[in-house]
């Protein structure tokens, strides 16, 4: 390593790590959940992420030069998830539990009206290639900007911008295909508007 780590007192490091943990527990769990599609694996992945992060926290702080550490945390989770799949030689074991996710996020009325569109979107997200799906999870579940996503994925800002654009384009097509092959339940005004909007896109 070319850079000398300036050692901080352990108590100070622990306090700073505690802040990082509190600030990003939900981010890491959300990423893990959408990445692996299962609450049990998401819990394990979250736990392992923070334990690894604690081990390397001082070095990460030293090398971050004051930049936010969220991309670093998500990168740890990303690597652990990749290892999980490699070890088990499988993709996510079960689809994302839509009922749990959607019910936690929407009122009953919204759930009835918007469920079909949201289900199609989630179905489409699952069908995306890994890197595109991860980029969308980081952008929309965690609210990360292009620069943060680039750091988490180890790509350039420009490559990340292209990745996200292509991911949305492909998802748009998948959702559109889903809308034509699966009749909307209830046919709400909101759903029709969304379907119409999705169907009216212009090509590049």
């Amino acid at each position: 390593m070319s850079e000398q780590i300036r050692h901080k007192p352990k108590a100070q490091l622990d306090a700073e790590f505690s802040e990082l943990y509190r600030a990003h527990l939900r981010d890491v769990y959300s990423y893990a959940y959408y990445r692996v599609g299962d609450h049990h694996d998401a819990e394990d992945l979250t736990e392992q992420t923070f334990l690894q992060a604690y081990r390397h926290f001082e070095r990460a702080q030293s090398e971050s030069h004051g930049r936010p550490l969220r991309p670093w945390l998500i990168r740890i989770a990303h690597n652990l998830a990749a290892n999980l799949y490699r070890d088990r030689s499988r993709k996510p074991a079960s689809p994302i539990d839509e009922t749990t996710t959607l019910a936690a996020l929407h009122t009953t009325e919204q759930l009835v009206e918007g469920r079909d569109e949201l289900s199609r979107v989630l179905d489409g997200v699952r069908l995306l290639p890994d890197d595109r799906r991860e980029a969308l999870i980081m952008r929309f579940a965690l609210g990360m900007d292009n620069r943060e996503i680039a750091r988490a994925l180890g790509r350039s800002d420009g490559a990340t911008k292209v990745l996200i654009h292509r991911a949305i384009r492909q998802l748009e097509e998948l959702v559109e295909e889903g809308a034509t092959t699966r009749p909307a339940r209830g046919g709400s005004a909101n759903g029709r508007a969304a379907a119409k909007a999705l169907g009216s896109r212009s090509d590049d």
């Binding site: 943990y21 527990l25 981010d27 736990e47 949201l118 579940a141 969304a194 896109r201």
Partner: protein
């Protein structure tokens, strides 16, 4: 950006809304992290005695001991001081004295913290 993409992004934000971690996970994780942060043994184990040849480094292991536990550290320091007091002539200089003291501190602290 087309209207369709804009609408899709709105739907994406709804579909991929953040998920709250279960309370049991937070409790378990905080308990694990707490137990880890209480361990200062690694700090002493990682410390190379050769570094003690530079007097500027002498304060750091002492700080690790404080982190490891006030009661244990106090006992370690008392024992180390007692031993040094018993045989002041056996130590051949400031550097050897520091190294020997640090070996005692490391061994005693590991024993104390390991027996918790």
């Amino acid at each position: 950006m087309t209207e369709a993409m804009s609408n899709l992004e709105v739907l994406l934000r709804e579909a991929l809304a953040p998920v709250e971690p279960p309370a049991a996970l937070a409790e378990r994780l905080e308990s694990t992290l707490l137990s880890i942060t209480e361990m200062a043994v690694d700090e002493l184990e990682a410390w190379e005695l050769s570094a003690m040849r530079d007097p500027r480094n002498w304060a750091r292991p002492a700080a690790a001991i404080v982190v490891g536990g006030a009661a244990g550290a106090a006992l370690v320091l008392l024992r180390a001081r007692h031993r040094a007091h018993d045989s002041p002539g056996a130590l051949g200089g400031a550097r050897e004295s520091a190294e020997r003291t640090m070996r005692d501190l490391g061994r005693e602290t590991r024993r104390l913290l390991g027996s918790r």
